[in-house]
Symmetry: C2
Subunit: 184 residues, 2 copies
DNA sequence: AGAGTTCTTGACCGTTTAATCAAGAACTGC
DNA sequence: GCAGTTCTTGATTAAACGGTCAAGAACTCT
């Protein structure tokens, strides 16, 4: 009944997300988005709406692809220590891209209430998953504050990664969380 | 020997810093900087160089004005608990502006190596001050990792503040840090 | 095969951006 | 009061920005 789309919508979103992640919202120009997605500007607007709509879709994809798996893994963790191993994997290279949600919180949230809410909600499942694991672990005291603190420290390491902080430095954050929480 | 400046350099820097803090680097247009500083564009360029130079000066002022006093206060803290009281003051309203250094780390550091280094170094004195206080406090174990974790959690709360996270939520982070670190 | 619909393309538009510049103003030292 | 220097002003510029649009391509259904 009509001309079919010549692109894979998810692949396009992947490209857009990657660019926003690297360059931020303002830093990702439409010209660069064209290149990153392989799509012409008109097709991009036809399929996703304007730049902000595309950003919203990219944020949603990021949560689904980068945060949700970690939440599931934490849910399945047998104890608090195992949960920390998921958030702060040992001897993993530092990803300087940091976290797209944190970048959006810093850059866009102050001038966009809807994106602020998305950023606020994005980390709630992780916090709740940590609460549940900590509450079930007799070695961890006060599950709720501990979960809140770990999430804050996690977000902190993502900002530090953007600044190029070394792996050793970030590992120290993880060590601090481990030694502080696990009273065993 | 020449026409004198008609403005107070520090007041101008204060205005520029405030605007960068609220709107970020890209978000602070030169027109808005003119208004925020009360200076004409030509005067701004004559006195400070280009936009990036002005941003560097604003970052420097921010460290001096917003971070250094906290570092001094932490240095003077009698124990770990008192140090945490400085970083996480009870019943203080949340400043949604967050932290200019963290915003610069998220937005600018990935594409500007010099600013990345500034962001990396800006929090080192705070971390070292915490290390010293923690090391002298028999109730705190492993001063270095604990200090690193507290700084990460602190930066995390600044990002959360940008997203509009509530005071209760942020207080929980502080509670978590207290209960985790102070084994008394 | 023809009509109808959607998708793709690349040129195009108005706006906004950071940055510049010539001209005049304000001051100091002689 | 004159020369010399720096500061201020506002118009100006070239480039880059997000967004639009007309024309043609590609497909389905009848």
């Amino acid at each position: 009944m009509a001309r079919p789309r010549s692109f894979d919508e998810d692949a396009v979103l992947e490209g857009a997300m990657a660019l926003f992640w690297r360059r931020g919202y303002d830093g990702a120009t439409l010209e660069a988005l064209d290149r990153a997605t392989g799509l012409n500007r008109g097709s991009l607007y036809n399929a996703f709406g304007d730049k902000r709509d595309l950003f919203l879709a990219a944020l949603s994809r990021y949560v689904r692809q980068a945060i949700s798996p970690a939440v599931e893994a934490v849910r399945a963790a047998p104890n608090g220590s195992a949960a920390l191993d998921i958030l702060f994997p040992l001897d993993a290279p530092v990803d300087r891209r940091g976290c797209l949600i944190c970048k959006a919180a810093a850059e866009v949230a102050p001038v966009d209430a809807e994106i602020a809410e998305i950023a606020r909600e994005a980390y709630r499942p992780l916090r709740e998953a940590l609460e549940a694991v900590f509450a079930a672990d007799p070695d961890v005291t006060s599950a709720k504050p501990s979960a809140a603190m770990v999430v804050a420290a996690y977000q902190g390491t993502k900002i530090m990664a953007n600044a190029g902080v070394s792996a050793e430095e970030i590992t120290k954050v993880a060590d601090g969380a481990r030694e502080a929480l696990i009273s065993a």
